[in-house]
Symmetry: C2
Subunit: 200 residues, 2 copies
């Protein structure tokens, strides 16, 4: 196995250990020491890959975003070709909600990262870029759906994109068991159905 | 001043100090020691009012919810009598978003509390009760608005309530400066306008 691949694998193993620490104990416990212990490798070995806790957090978040994108891509592949934009948006939104174990891990990582960003300029800049990129992808889908006649041209693509992303606000309701996962999906579907009715 | 009031004031001063610590440094710094320092009182004095960090967190969150309710009540009083349900919901939602300094402090306290709840059964139960209570209030307004003909009877009140609460999902977009506060308000207004069009 080329050394490059091995390095990447080791970093991903450490990142997944950080996710587990964040998911099960909270980001306050996400020190290099506790993550090393969770990963079952030495403190020094983690430091070999990540010089600081911040480097580790940034990599773990980038990796969480990548994994979320891969889960979305898997979901979209099952939709037939070409996928309907409504179903693509549904696949994206449901993977951003803590509805399944893997999505819950990345959702909690993401929520903790946003709070961390409020007190760290470098993480703020990176989190902003990441969210802006994700937002741009959704806005492209919305604009194309308007062009293709799936969404009414009366709709403002920027505002609709913000309202789609706002659906991640169902997260605390799910995490605190105030609503059932099925109720969250019903809300997402209701919102998407109205967006795609092509009526004002 | 009666002693009871003095006690309450002291507890609120400590709670506000905790909000500042959470807002400016993050909940990882919200130890009894750092909060005492921020409040400018002795560690022992804080312990006199709050035996544990958890007691302090719970009180600070309850106080944040109360203060948010008071800000909403202030906003609703300005709406004329009787206030239109659309405007009442707008007042509630805008006070839950980090659009002004006081709302930002309580919003960050609330976000940190939800993450804390994931690893603490007592805080989970309290956070769940608090969010359920807030959700019930919104559902009552939605149901009454349907009864009064402001919202179409075709709308499902539970789903509409979940979609209204989901608008707090604009928070990361605002906090990471991905969108401007005005864009968040436009999204909230767009959502409310459609809910209150009384058309399916």
């Amino acid at each position: 196995m080329p050394k490059q691949v091995d390095h990447r694998e080791r970093r991903e193993t450490i990142a997944r250990a950080l996710w587990r620490v964040v998911e099960q104990r909270g980001i306050a416990h996400a020190s290099v020491r506790e993550v090393a212990q969770e990963a079952g490798i030495s403190h020094g070995a983690v430091q070999h890959y990540f010089a600081t806790r911040e480097e580790l957090l940034v990599f773990a978040m980038d990796f969480a975003s990548e994994q979320t994108s891969l889960r979305v891509a898997d979901g979209v592949r099952e939709l037939g070709s070409p996928p309907h934009p409504r179903d693509m948006l549904r696949a994206m939104l449901t993977e951003m909600l803590p509805l399944r174990p893997d999505a819950r891990a990345t959702s909690r990582m993401s929520a903790a990262y946003v709070l961390e960003a409020l007190h760290n300029a470098n993480i703020h800049a990176r989190a902003r870029d990441g969210l802006t990129h994700g937002r741009d992808l959704i806005e492209q889908i919305v604009r194309q759906a308007i062009t293709d006649g799936h969404i009414s041209p009366d709709r403002d693509p920027a505002t609709e994109t913000n309202l789609l992303l706002a659906l991640t606000g169902l997260t605390p309701l799910i995490e605190l068991s105030v609503i059932e996962p099925q109720e969250a999906l019903t809300a997402v579907d209701q919102h998407l159905n109205r967006l795609f009715t092509n009526k004002t």
